[in-house]
C-alpha cells in the first residue's frame, strides 16, 4: 500500500509541473509588466528600473525565468502581496482552512445524500421515488451555484431570518455558543455546494449501480440466500463505487470553481474570495499563488481518489 501511494505521488509530480508551466506561460505571455507601475512613477529613474529588471532577471530567456520561478516557489518564497503588505504564503495560510472546511464538509454532505438516494433509486428503477430523485437531480445540476446561494439567502436570511448571510471569522462567543454560531453561518454555503455536487453524483451512482446490479455475481449472492440488504451494501455498492470515485475526482476542478462562487456570495474569507479581491486590486503575486494552490488542491484530491480507488478495488495491484 505504501509503495502504491508513493508511486501515485511520483506520478502527480509531472502533472503539477505541467500545470505550473501552463500557469507560467499565461503569466509570461500576458502583456504588461510587473514593473509597469514603477515606469509611471516619476521618482524612479530609468537606471534604477533597468537595475531592478536586471536583478529580477526580467530579460532572461523564458526557460531560465521559469526555472527561477519554480525554484523560488519550491523554497517557499512566494513573493509579497502588493496590497496587504505581507508575504503571500502567510496570507494564503490564513485563508485556506475556511476553504478546505467548506469544500470538505460539502463533499461529505454530497456523498451522504448521493449514495443512499442513488442506490435506492437504482434498486427500483422507474419507480416513483426514482423519478422524483431523477427530476430533482436534473434540476439540481442545472441550477448554477450562485443562483441557489441567492435563493437560500432570500429564503432563510431575508424571509425567515433564521440564518446569518455574512460569514464572520471573528465570532465573539466561546465554547458551545461558538460552535453553534459557526454551525449556523456555515450551513448555507455547505448546503449550496453540497446539493450541487449531490445532484450530479446521484446520476453517476444510479447508473453505476444499474450497471452492476445485472451482473451474474449479484444473482449468485442472492441465490446463496443472502439478505437483500447484504447483497446491496456489501456486493453491489462497493463495486459500483469504483467508477463513481473516478467521476468525482474528475469533478474536483468544478467543485473548487463552485467554492469560489459560494465564498463570494456568503463573503467567506477563504482563498476563493482572496483570488477575486486580489484580481480586482491587481495584486499579481497573490493571484498567481492562489491559482497555483488551487491546482495543487485539485491534484491532491485526485491523489486521494486514486488511493481510494486502490482500496475499493483490490484487483488493482499495489506493486
Amino acid at each position: 500500500m505504501g509503495t502504491y501511494v508513493l508511486r501515485r505521488l511520483l506520478i502527480a509530480i509531472p502533472s503539477l509541473l505541467g500545470i505550473s508551466a501552463v500557469l507560467f506561460c499565461v503569466m509570461a505571455l500576458a502583456p504588461g509588466d510587473p514593473f509597469g507601475e514603477l515606469a509611471t512613477n516619476p521618482n524612479v529613474p530609468p537606471e534604477v528600473r533597468a537595475a531592478l529588471r536586471e536583478k529580477f532577471g526580467m530579460d532572461d530567456p523564458i526557460l531560465m525565468r521559469y526555472w527561477h520561478w519554480l525554484v523560488a516557489m519550491l523554497q517557499g518564497d512566494w513573493g509579497f502581496s502588493f496590497v496587504s503588505r505581507i508575504n503571500v504564503d502567510t496570507l494564503i495560510l490564513q485563508r485556506i482552512p475556511a476553504t478546505l472546511a467548506i469544500v470538505g464538509l460539502s463533499q461529505i454532505l454530497a456523498i451522504c445524500i448521493a449514495i443512499p438516494v442513488g442506490v435506492y433509486s437504482a434498486t427500483r428503477p422507474y419507480s416513483i421515488f426514482d423519478q422524483i430523485a431523477n427530476t430533482l437531480a436534473f434540476i439540481g445540476f442545472s441550477l448554477p451555484t450562485f443562483f441557489t446561494g441567492l435563493l437560500f439567502i432570500l429564503l432563510f436570511s431575508v424571509k425567515l431570518d433564521w440564518l446569518p448571510f455574512v460569514y464572520r471569522s471573528d465570532l465573539s462567543a466561546t465554547g458551545l455558543q461558538w460552535w453553534w454560531e459557526q454551525f449556523k453561518q456555515s450551513i448555507m454555503p455547505i448546503c449550496v455546494l453540497g446539493f450541487f455536487q449531490a445532484a450530479s453524483m446521484i446520476r453517476y451512482v444510479r447508473s453505476a449501480v444499474l450497471d452492476v446490479i445485472r451482473l451474474d455475481y449479484v444473482t449468485t449472492a442472492r441465490a446463496k440466500g443472502l439478505g437483500e440488504k447484504v447483497v446491496i451494501t456489501k456486493h453491489v455498492v462497493r463495486n459500483a463505487l469504483i467508477p463513481v470515485v473516478t467521476l468525482v475526482a474528475l469533478q474536483m476542478p468544478a467543485v473548487f470553481g463552485g467554492a469560489i462562487v459560494t465564498e463570494q456570495i456568503f463573503r467567506i474569507p477563504g482563498i476563493g474570495s482572496l483570488l477575486i479581491s486580489s484580481i480586482l486590486s491587481n495584486d499579481t503575486p497573490v493571484v498567481m499563488a492562489v491559482t497555483f494552490v488551487f491546482s495543487c488542491l485539485v491534484v491532491l484530491f485526485n491523489l486521494i481518489a486514486d488511493v481510494l480507488y486502490g482500496w475499493l478495488d483490490p484487483r488493482i495491484s499495489y506493486s
Binding site: 502533472s15 505541467g18 500545470i19 501552463v22 500557469l23 499565461v26 503569466m27 500576458a30 502583456p31 504588461g32 428503477p125 422507474y126 436534473f138 434540476i139 445540476f141 442545472s142 441550477l143 448554477p144 450562485f146 443562483f147 441567492l150 435563493l151 439567502i153 432570500l154 431575508v158 444499474l210 445485472r214 474528475l250 474536483m252 476542478p253 468544478a254 473548487f256 470553481g257 469560489i260 462562487v261 463570494q264 456570495i265 483570488l275 477575486i276 484580481i279 480586482l280 493571484v287 498567481m288 492562489v290 491559482t291 488551487f294 491546482s295 488542491l297 485539485v298 491534484v299 485526485n302
Partner: protein, 267 residues
C-alpha cells in the same frame, strides 16, 4: 427552448423600452404593467435588460461550444489517427487540462489579457472574443477524448479499408468517411457544452469580471441585485430563473439526444 430563443431574438423589437432608460421615479418597483419584470435601482426596465443579456448569453454559449467542438474534433482526430507518440502526447495534454482548475484559470486569463484586447477590439467585442475563446479553449478535452475513441474503433472498420483500397488520401478518409460516423456522441457533448458555457459566462459576470458593467448580461444583473435582496427580490429572481430555464432545457435536449442515440437503455 425555442420559445425562449424567439423571445430573446425578437423580444427587443416588441419590447422597445431602452435598456439604459433611467427613471428614478420607478426605482426598484415590483413587476407591474409598465415594467413586467420590475425595475432595478436606477429604474431601468428589467425585461428589456434581460432580453439584451439573453442575446449575449446565448451567443457566448453557442460560440464557445463551437470553439470547443472544433478544437476538440481536430485534436481528437489527430490523436485518433496517429499511431505513434503524438496521440499519447495529445491525450496526456488533455488529461493535464482536465485537472486544471478551470474557474481560477479563467479568472486569471481574463485579468491578465483584458486590457490589451479591449484596446484592439473595443470593450464589448474584445471581452466577447476573449470569453468565448477562453471558455471554449478550456472545454475541448471531453470532445477530443470522444472523437479519439470513435476514431480508434472506426479506423479499423471495413469501409475505411475499402476507401483506402480505392486510393483515398488520408485527409479524404478522415473528412469524408470517418468523421461523419464519429459525430453522434460529439453532438451530445456539444449540447451539454452550450449549457456549461452559459453557466460559466454568468458565473464570470456574477463575480464582476465578465462584460463591462454597463452591458447587462444575466450574471451581471444578478451581481447587481445581490445587495438589494431584501427590498427587491424580483430583481434577482427573474435573471436567475432565466439562466436556470435555459440551462435546464439545453441539458434536457442533451439528455434526450443521448437516450435517442444510445441504445443501451436499462430494462
Amino acid at each position: 427552448m425555442s420559445i425562449m430563443i424567439v423571445v430573446i431574438l425578437f423580444g427587443s423589437f416588441v419590447w422597445k423600452v431602452p435598456i439604459n432608460d433611467i427613471d428614478f421615479r420607478a426605482k426598484l418597483s415590483t413587476p407591474s404593467f409598465a415594467h413586467p419584470f420590475g425595475t432595478d435601482d436606477l429604474g431601468q426596465d428589467l425585461l428589456a435588460r434581460m432580453i439584451y443579456g439573453g442575446k449575449i448569453s446565448l451567443a457566448v454559449g453557442f460560440a464557445a461550444m463551437f470553439v470547443a467542438v472544433v478544437l476538440g474534433t481536430i485534436i481528437g482526430a489527430i490523436a485518433g489517427m496517429s499511431r505513434g507518440w503524438l496521440g499519447s502526447f495529445l491525450m496526456w495534454l488533455a488529461d493535464l487540462f482536465l485537472s486544471l482548475p478551470q474557474l481560477p484559470l479563467l479568472l486569471v486569463v481574463i485579468y491578465l489579457f483584458r486590457d490589451s484586447l479591449k484596446s484592439v477590439f473595443g470593450p464589448e467585442g474584445g471581452v466577447f472574443i476573449m470569453i468565448v475563446v477562453v471558455i471554449g479553449g478550456l472545454r475541448w478535452m471531453p470532445v477530443a477524448r470522444l472523437v479519439r475513441a470513435q476514431f480508434l474503433s472506426l479506423r479499423e472498420k471495413e469501409f475505411v479499408e475499402a476507401a483506402r483500397a480505392l486510393g483515398a488520401s488520408k485527409t479524404r478518409m478522415v473528412v469524408r468517411h470517418i468523421l461523419p460516423n464519429a459525430l453522434g456522441p460529439v453532438i451530445i457533448a456539444a449540447t451539454i457544452d452550450v449549457a456549461a458555457a452559459i453557466i460559466q459566462e454568468s458565473t464570470l459576470s456574477f463575480l464582476g469580471l465578465g462584460f463591462p458593467p454597463d452591458i447587462p448580461t444575466w450574471g451581471r444583473i444578478l451581481f447587481d441585485a445581490r445587495d438589494f435582496l431584501d427590498i427587491a427580490p424580483h430583481w434577482a429572481l427573474f435573471p436567475g430563473a432565466a439562466i436556470f430555464l435555459t440551462v435546464v432545457t439545453i441539458n434536457f435536449i442533451g439528455d434526450g439526444l443521448r437516450d435517442a442515440l444510445d441504445a443501451r437503455r436499462v430494462m
